[in-house]
């Protein structure tokens, strides 16, 4: 019986390319019978009956898909996550390395640089952060190329990412700019706090005007195999977010294996995350190309299974234009161009922006002005 569950649980339908068309057709949000496909006997099914109150007021109902029923119990959730196809680490690394060899030049490079700038969550997450520091960062985000001759107007960044206590400062600075205010929450970066503290943390940031919440998952619970605890925590934070978008930080550096990255990605998406994010930036390794590739495969498969587009945000360690372009190539060749949009792909970064600006100027004018000509904020 366990065997059957495993076999069927990973039969996630994927987008089917239509012959003669350049893009894969979008699979309709078809009813998904993940557990019923397996021969699970009725005694087992009744033993995993849904607990009252457990399933209300979360992202599942809104998404309206049977797939989300896998989270009805610890047993079904575990069975589903462990039934996902494995990741061969050597093969995944090789694929990422191959994608990194793509040579992006001239017009393609110019497109990629501007897109990367528009995708940046310009971040400061230091104990030493002050309102002054955040105001400077907001100014940089609004007009990244101040004082630099870059030929054409430079787009603003996607969001400013800060600690909850500084949200009011950023909200005031960015009013009317279209730049989002993203706040980390849930006892960032460790997540080691009681749930009600995490919820309060989230609610405070949203109440102060944050458009986006970057939460951390409970890695301790995940590694201990308590997937439902992790799931319910994400559901609770999502509820606390209200209208704000939720980015779920997996902290892949602590999950260690690619199989875990894939499972955590699915877990976060099932629980209602709008984005899955690699890292806090406080743990080494932070974002890597293979880890991001695996998360992109997960959002691609999730979209095929449910019709929902979930975003991906690599964060930490992406410092050069060359790196950023490699990520964009990976997005393009894994998920396709619908994800080449700040609504579905972000970079969590700080120093990356200045390198993008210098490369942008180099493309436009043929020369580097040098690091003293870009602003340090």
């Amino acid at each position: 019986m366990v065997y059957d569950l495993y076999v069927h649980a990973h039969k996630v339908p994927v987008a089917t390319p239509v012959r003669g068309s350049a893009t894969p057709a979008v699979a309709a949000a078809q009813p998904y019978k993940i557990v019923t496909a397996a021969r699970v006997d009725s005694a087992f099914m009744s033993a995993i009956a849904i607990q009252p109150g457990q399933t209300s007021a979360n992202g599942r109902a809104a998404r309206g898909n049977d797939l989300f029923d896998v989270a009805r119990s610890e047993a079904t959730l575990r069975t589903f996550l462990h039934g996902l196809p494995g990741v061969d680490a050597v093969g995944a690394d090789a694929r990422a390395a191959m994608l990194a060899t793509r040579s992006i030049k001239t017009t393609a490079k110019a497109f990629a640089i501007d897109l990367a700038i528009r995708m940046i969550d310009l971040t400061t997450l230091e104990g030493a952060d002050t309102p002054g520091k955040v105001r400077a960062l907001c100014a940089k985000g609004r007009q990244p190329d101040a004082g630099l001759d870059t030929g054409s107007p430079c787009p603003p960044v996607a969001a400013i990412c800060i600690y909850p206590s500084l949200v009011p400062v950023a909200v005031a600075e960015l009013a009317g700019s279209g730049i989002h205010v993203a706040s980390v929450a849930t006892a960032f970066p460790s997540g080691q706090a009681p749930l009600d503290v995490k919820i309060a943390d989230t609610k405070a940031a949203v109440a102060d005007g944050a458009d986006e919440i970057d939460m951390v998952i409970n890695r301790g619970a995940f590694l201990a195999g308590r997937y439902l605890d992790v799931y319910e925590e994400i559901v609770a934070v999502k509820t606390a977010c209200g209208p704000a978008h939720l980015k779920v930080i997996l902290e892949t550096g602590e999950l260690a294996t690619y199989d875990n990255v894939r499972r955590a990605s699915w877990l976060a998406m099932l629980a209602g995350g709008d984005f899955i994010k690699t890292s806090t930036g406080k743990v080494t390794p932070a974002a890597t190309l293979p880890v991001t590739l695996i998360m992109l495969e997960a959002v691609r498969d999730f979209e095929a299974a449910t019709g929902h587009l979930v975003g991906v945000k690599p964060a930490g360690g992406i410092r050069t234009t060359k790196d950023a372009v490699r990520y964009l190539v990976t997005v393009n060749e894994t998920c396709g161009e619908r994800w080449l949009d700040p609504a579905y792909f972000r970079f969590g970064a700080s120093s990356l922006l200045n390198d993008l600006l210098m490369q942008r100027q180099k493309l436009a004018t043929g020369a580097y002005a040098g690091p003293d000509y870009v602003t340090l904020d």
């Binding site: 994927v14 390319p17 893009t23 990741v87 060899t101 040579s103 030049k105 017009t107 161009e337």
Partner: protein, 479 residues
């Protein structure tokens, strides 16, 4: 138009200096062919433009080359201490690395393979082979072939057009390390890197006659393998020609190794890592346009995951970039010759006629040159010709199986036995299946992976003898 359109990123061909015509490399010098020799042109398969005029060597030319090799063998190379032979091989390996960009561009121009492959796979492996066998040259008594293994003499070597320089390395590096001298004939459509290698031999001050390169077609190859003073024959190419060579050599003192065709099964079990298996399938059949003797040209996929896997494979194939071999973003280059293109077309049409269903991603083929879109055939059975005959092109036959036993039975149900692939996350299954596959190389959760330390060769009609690794020395040592 795609919003993220990769702009052309061509590798510059300015680094290569292709002469209008080339001679033969005999006795350490470039010489003209004799009065019986002819000339032919080698063309760029991506543009059909002629690249250079090449000598079609006559039997008399081959005679001169074998005489030069014999002289060098008797007077210099067989007597030279292994540590000194090693110095030359290490020098050659370093020169290959130093000239790697030039060699990669030259290989892509003459063969049609993408620069990404010649740059990242072919040429690095060529250098690695010379480094590897250079290391063996002074350690032959520890190779397991007796206390004092001796070289055999003059080796006549005939190589194919699919990996021109890599096949040259597989042939020449172990032969020289063991103390033999060689007469090598590159394929008629891809002689340029072998001639560049001749230049490297001069640059390395390799003693004259140790390496001789004679260009030409089938008749020249026949003259090499049938020459009375050749002691050892090594051939890589089609099973048909291999048979003819085996007949010609039968009853003589000559030793022979053959590395011939294949129709490898790439077996994907339901518990495989699907995304990586898809990469492996693509790499197995579309690497080098499928011009790979060990290509995974038969996909055997377990029925329970067949639809899911094929959907993923089709989606992945829409990302393949076909075009200019020198563009750094090209995944699929040109078919090597008009003859090969005709053969791929013929077999592909047979597949459709026999009822298999073809699928290719939307793909614009350039107007000039030899091109074939990557294609998969579903609904293929063991009885179809495309499941039995080597196509040697970017065409994959997809078959399904229900149980591991059926997978093994189908995989082995071929006259060939060069390679196979197994995809499963279950380690015990890898070992059990690999044990029962009648193939010289079995890759587990990868495909088309090569290493100079790893022996390579076939079962059944895929040939005999092993190249690479310690095993590869045996063919060049008397013991």
């Amino acid at each position: 138009m795609a919003i993220f359109d990769y702009a052309p990123a061509p590798e510059s061909s300015a680094i290569v200096d292709i002469r209008p015509s080339y001679g033969l490399f005999i006795g350490g010098e470039f010489v003209d062919g004799d009065s019986d020799s002819g000339r032919f042109k080698t063309v760029n398969p991506a543009t059909e433009e002629p690249l250079a005029e090449i000598v079609d060597a006559s039997p008399g030319d081959v005679d001169r080359a074998v005489a030069a090799a014999r002289h060098a063998y008797d007077r210099v190379w067989s007597r030279m201490p292994g540590k000194d032979r090693a110095k030359y091989l290490f020098r050659i390996a370093r020169l290959i690395q130093e000239r790697s960009r030039e060699l990669a561009v030259l290989e892509s121009i003459d063969n049609g393979k993408p620069i990404r492959e010649s740059r990242d796979v072919d040429i690095p492996l060529v250098a690695a082979h010379f480094f590897y066998y250079a290391g063996w040259a002074d350690k032959l008594r520890y190779a397991g072939f007796g206390d004092d293994p001796r070289p055999i003499g003059v080796a006549g070597q005939v190589i194919p057009w699919n990996f021109p320089m890599l096949m040259l390395a597989w042939k020449i590096a172990p032969a020289l390390a063991a103390g033999n001298t060689v007469v090598l004939k590159p394929a008629e459509t891809t002689p340029l890197t072998a001639l560049a290698f001749a230049d490297i031999c001069q640059q390395a001050d390799l003693p004259p006659g140790v390496v001789n390169i004679v260009t030409g077609a089938g008749d020249t190859g026949r003259a090499v393998v049938e020459h009375a003073d050749v002691d050892k024959v090594a051939f890589t190419g089609s099973t048909e020609v291999g048979r003819a060579i085996a007949k010609a050599v039968a009853g003589t003192r000559k030793r022979i190794t053959l590395e011939l065709g294949g129709k490898a099964a790439n077996i994907v079990f339901e518990d495989a890592a699907i995304d990586q298996a898809v990469e492996g399938i693509v790499n197995g059949i579309f690497f080098n346009q499928g011009h790979v003797c060990c290509a995974g040209s038969r996909l055997l996929v377990q029925e329970s995951v067949a639809d899911e896997l094929l959907d993923s494979l089709r989606r992945r194939m829409t990302r393949l970039r076909l075009g200019d071999p020198l563009d750094k973003n090209t995944d699929i280059g040109a078919i090597n010759s008009a003859v090969q293109l005709a053969r791929i077309r013929e077999l592909s049409e047979v597949g459709a006629r026999e009822g298999a269903e073809p699928w290719s991603p939307p793909c614009d083929l350039p107007a000039r040159g030899f091109w074939f879109a990557p294609t998969i055939y579903t609904g293929v059975s063991q009885a179809h010709r495309i499941a039995r005959e080597e196509i040697f092109g970017p065409v994959l036959a997809v078959l399904t199986f229900r149980t591991p036993a059926e997978a093994v039975e189908k995989a082995n149900n071929t006259p060939y036995g060069l390679s196979a692939g197994v995809w499963t996350e279950k380690g015990s299954r890898i070992l059990a299946i690999a044990d029962r596959l009648r193939a010289g190389v079995v890759w587990a959760n990868t495909f088309n992976k090569f290493d100079p330390a790893s022996p390579f060769g076939g079962y059944k009609e895929s040939g005999y003898g092993r190249e690479g690794g310690r095993h590869g020395l045996e063919a060049y040592l008397a013991h």
